[in-house]
C-alpha cells in the first residue's frame, strides 16, 4: 500500500498515452489469487515494470500471537496459509516443542507427516487447478478440486474441520486417527495416482501449454537463491533445497523420497517440479501410513505451557516453500514475547516483478500462478 503505486496509477495513467499504459491489476481481479494488487506499466502489452502492492489482508497475526497464550496461537496459524493449514500448525508446534525440548512420540510424528503430505497434495491440487485456469484450461481446475475434496473428507474425518483444522497440539496430536482411516488414506493414494496422470494428459504435452509456460519467467538458480525464492519455485531453478531433506523434521528422516528439481527455471519447470511432488508426496504417505507405529500421541507436556526464556528459529517445508517460525520466549508470561513467521509466499511474491519484466500481460497471471501464493500468508 504505497503512494508511489497510487500516483503511478492516477497521475501517470493518462488513458491514451501512446508510450505507456499503467494498469492496476487487482486488488479485485479474478486471477491474482486473492487481494493482491499488481501495478503494471505496459508498453503495448509488454510489461515494462511491475509493482506489487500487498497488505490488504493484513490482520496482524504476529502482533495478535504475542498477546495470546501458546495454545491459542495454533488456531491463528490456520489462518495464514489457509489452503495448507495443517502444515502451518505443525511448523508452529514443532518450534514450541523445540523451545521446550518436548519429545514428540513417533506415532504422532508419523501421523503429522501423513497429514502434512496430504495437505501438500491438497495445496498442489489447488495450485494446478488455478494455474491451469489462469492459462485458460478450466477443466483441470474442476478435476483438481474433485481430488482435493477427497483430501478434505479425510481431514474432516480426522479432526472435524475441512479448511482451518487446528489439528495439532504442542507435544503431539489432539486426537488419534479414527479406526480405518489409514485404509482410506491408502485407497486415496491409489485413486490419486491415476488422477495425476489425468492432469498431465491435459497439460504436460499440450502444445499450447508448452508455448505458454516454456521460457516464461526464467530465473537462474543463483538468482533465485539470492532473491529468497523457496519451495518448488526455487527447485524449479535447479537448486535442490528442501527442508524435509536438509533439516529433517517430523518423520521425514525415516522416509524415502526424492527431491525433483528443474533445469531451465521457467514456468514449465516449476510446473513439472510440482507435478512430481504430487507423486513423491504419495510415496511418503504410503510409507508413513503403512509404518505408523503404536504408542501414545502426545508427549510429556507440562500443564502450563511456558517455555524457558530463549529464542529459536525452526523451518519446515510447506507446500509453498520454507515456512519458518522465529519465536522468542521471555520465560515469564504465558505468551510468546516475539512471534515471527517467515512466510514462503511473501518471499516468493517478492520475485514477481523480476519474473514478469519483459513478458506480456498474459504471462503475469501465468507467473502469479507459477509462484503459488496465498495472500493470507503474504499479509498475515
Amino acid at each position: 500500500m504505497t503512494t508511489n503505486a497510487f500516483e503511478a496509477a492516477t497521475v501517470h495513467g493518462e488513458m491514451f498515452d501512446t508510450n505507456e499504459l499503467v494498469i492496476n491489476m487487482g486488488p479485485q481481479h479474478p486471477s491474482t489469487h486473492g487481494v493482491l494488487r499488481v501495478v503494471l506499466r505496459l508498453d503495448g502489452e509488454k510489461v515494462v515494470d511491475a509493482e506489487v502492492v500487498i497488505g490488504y489482508l493484513h490482520r496482524g497475526i504476529e502482533k495478535l500471537s504475542e498477546n495470546r497464550n501458546w495454545t491459542q496461537i495454533i488456531l491463528l496459524t490456520d489462518r495464514m496459509d489457509y489452503v495448507a493449514a495443517a502444515t502451518s500448525n505443525v511448523g508452529y508446534c514443532e518450534t514450541v516443542e523445540k523451545l521446550m525440548a518436548i519429545e514428540v512420540p513417533r506415532r504422532a510424528k508419523y501421523i503429522r507427516t501423513i497429514l502434512m503430505e496430504l495437505q501438500r497434495i491438497a495445496s498442489h491440487c489447488l495450485w494446478v487447478g488455478t494455474h491451469a485456469m489462469d492459462i485458460g484450461a478450466m477443466t483441470v481446475f474442476l478435476y483438481a478440486f474433485r481430488e482435493r475434496e477427497l483430501i478434505l473428507d479425510l481431514f474432516e474425518e480426522f479432526c472435524g474441520a475441512r479448511l482451518t483444522y487446528n489439528s495439532m497440539r504442542i507435544g503431539g496430536l489432539p486426537l488419534d486417527i479414527p479406526p480405518g482411516w489409514d485404509k482410506k488414506v491408502l485407497a486415496f493414494c491409489d485413486i490419486m495416482d491415476g488422477k495425476i496422470d489425468e492432469y498431465e494428459t491435459l497439460l504436460t504435452h499440450n502444445r499450447i501449454w508448452l508455448e505458454r509456460t516454456k521460457g516464461v519467467g526464467v530465473i537462474s538458480g543463483a538468482e533465485a537463491t539470492a532473491l529468497g525464492l523457496c519451495g518448488p519455485a526455487l527447485r524449479g531453478s535447479g537448486v535442490a533445497r528442501d527442508v524435509r531433506k536438509d533439516e529433517p523434521y517430523s518423520a521425514y528422516a525415516e522416509m524415502d523420497f526424492d527431491i525433483p528439481v528443474g533445469v531451465q527455471g521457467d514456468t514449465y519447470d516449476r510446473y513439472l517440479v510440482r507435478m512430481e511432488e504430487f507423486r513423491q508426496s504419495l510415496r511418503i504417505i504410503r510409507q508413513a501410513t503403512q509404518g505408523i507405529p503404536e504408542g501414545p500421541i502426545v508427549g510429556k507436556v507440562p500443564r502450563l505451557i511456558k517455555p524457558a526464556a530463549g529464542e529459536t528459529y525452526h523451518a519446515i517445508e510447506s507446500p509453498k516453500g520454507e515456512l519458518g517460525y522465529f519465536i522468542v520466549s521471555d520465560g515469564k508470561s504465558t505468551n510468546p514475547y516475539r512471534f515471527r513467521v517467515r512466510p514462503p509466499s511473501f518471499c516468493n511474491l517478492q520475485a514477481l516483478p523480476r519474473l514478469v519484466r519483459g513478458h506480456l500481460v498474459a504471462d503475469v497471471v501465468a507467473l502469479i500462478g507459477s509462484i503459488d501464493i496465498v495472500l493470507g500468508e503474504v499479509d498475515r
Binding site: N24, A137, I208
Partner: protein, 340 residues
C-alpha cells in the same frame, strides 16, 4: 403478394426466432457439455435437467440494472452491443437451411434469399461485427476493455484474412459465390468439399474459433487476464447482447462450415441411390445435425485447451495460417486449371 412479401416475412420471423432460441439454448448446451466434461452436472434447478435455465437467465438479465459508467461515451456505449448483435443476425439471410421444397402446394425455398455474392456478403457483414467489440472497449473508458478491444480488432482482422483465403479455395471449387450454388456444386461433384479441401477446412475451423473469440483464442474476453475483456463494464441486457452475439456468431460459423465443407443440407452420399432411404429425414435436419457437430466441437475444444497468448496467436495467424492458406489456394488453382 404472397410470394414476394408474406412468405419472406414469415421466413425471416421464423429464422430470427429460431436463431434467438437456438442461441439461448446454445448457452445451456455449452454449460451442460462442459459440465459433463468436468464431471459435474451443470444447471439442474430450473426445470427438469435445467432445461428452462436459458429462460431464467434471460429474465434475470432483462430485469438487471443497466449500468452506464459515468465517464463512458454514452451513445457509443449503448450502440456497441447492438452493433455486435445485428451483423450476427443478418448473416442468416443467406444461409441455406435446405433446398426448394414443396410446402402446402407451393414451392418454398428453405433460405431467406440467395444472392449471387452470398459468401462475400457473409464475410463483409461479419467484418462489421468487429465494431461492436472495438467500440465497447473504447466507450467504456476503462483500461482493461481498451486492451481487450485492441486485442480483438487485431485478432479479428488477422484471422479474417486467413479465413477468407480458405473461402476463396472453396469458391474455386464451386465456381460461384452463392451459398445455394456451393451446395449444389458439392452434389454435382459427388463429394463434400471438406474432403477435397482438408487444409482449407482445418484453417477455416481454427480461424473461425479465433473470429468468434472462442477458446483457445478467447483473448478479448480472457477473464483471467483482462477481467472479462471488452464487456467488463457492461451489465444486464447489454451484456446479454454481447453474449448472444458471440453464440449467434458460433452458429453462423458452424452453418457456413456445414455449407462450404460438409454439403449443407445434403444427406451423406447424396449420389448413392442405395442410401435413398436416408431421404426420409428432411434436408434441413441434415443441416442442423451437421451444424450441431461443429458447435459441439467448439464446446469440446473450450473444455480441453488452454488459452494462447496474444503474440503466439498473432504468430500462428500470420506466419502459419495465412501462408498455408495462400499455398492451398495456389495449389487448388493449379489443380483446377490442370484438370479442366
Amino acid at each position: 403478394m404472397i410470394d414476394t412479401f408474406i412468405i419472406p416475412t414469415l421466413k425471416i420471423l421464423i429464422v430470427l426466432n429460431a436463431t434467438l432460441v437456438g442461441v439461448s439454448y446454445m448457452t445451456l448446451l455449452e454449460r451442460k457439455v462442459i459440465a459433463w466434461a468436468q464431471s459435474r452436472l451443470g444447471p439442474m434447478r430450473v426445470g427438469p435437467q435445467g432445461v428452462l435455465q436459458p429462460i431464467a437467465d434471460a429474465v434475470k438479465l432483462i430485469l438487471k440494472e443497466d449500468i452506464t459508467p459515468s465517464k463512458a461515451d454514452k451513445w457509443v456505449f449503448t450502440a456497441a452491443p447492438v452493433i455486435s448483435m445485428v451483423p450476427a443476425l443478418i448473416v442468416y439471410a443467406v444461409i441455406p437451411f435446405g433446398p426448394v421444397v414443396r410446402l402446402f402446394g407451393r414451392d418454398v425455398s428453405l433460405y431467406i434469399t440467395d444472392v449471387n455474392v452470398g459468401l462475400l456478403y457473409i464475410v463483409s457483414v461479419a467484418s462489421v461485427g468487429v465494431y461492436g467489440i472495438i467500440l465497447a472497449g473504447y466507450a467504456s473508458n476503462s483500461k482493461f476493455p481498451l486492451l481487450a478491444s485492441l486485442r480483438a480488432s487485431a485478432q479479428l482482422i488477422s484471422y479474417e484474412v486467413a479465413v477468407t483465403l480458405t473461402l476463396v479455395s472453396v469458391i474455386l471449387m464451386s465456381g460461384s459465390l452463392s451459398m445455394v450454388s456451393i451446395v449444389n456444386a458439392q452434389y454435382n461433384a459427388h463429394v463434400w468439399f471438406g474432403f477435397v479441401q482438408p487444409v482449407a477446412f482445418v484453417i477455416f475451423v481454427i480461424g473461425s474459433l479465433a473470429e468468434t473469440n472462442r477458446a483457445p483464442f478467447d483473448l478479448p474476453e480472457a477473464e483471467q487476464e483482462l477481467t472479462g475483456g471488452f464487456h467488463t463494464e457492461y451489465s444486464g441486457m447489454r451484456f446479454a447482447l454481447f453474449f448472444l452475439a458471440e453464440y449467434a456468431n458460433m452458429i453462423v460459423v458452424s452453418s457456413v462450415a456445414t455449407t462450404l465443407f460438409f454439403g449443407g443440407w445434403l444427406r451423406p452420399f447424396p449420389n448413392v441411390a442405395a442410401l435413398h432411404f436416408l431421404d426420409v429425414i428432411p434436408s434441413w435436419t441434415w443441416f442442423l445435425i451437421k451444424s450441431f457437430v461443429f458447435l459441439y466441437l467448439f464446446i469440446w475444444i473450450r473444455a480441453t485447451l488452454p488459452r494462447y497468448r496474444y503474440d503466439q496467436l498473432m504468430r500462428l495467424g500470420w506466419k502459419v495460417l495465412i501462408p498455408v492458406a495462400i499455398l492451398n489456394l495456389v495449389v487448388t488453382g493449379i489443380v483446377k486449371v490442370m484438370l479442366l
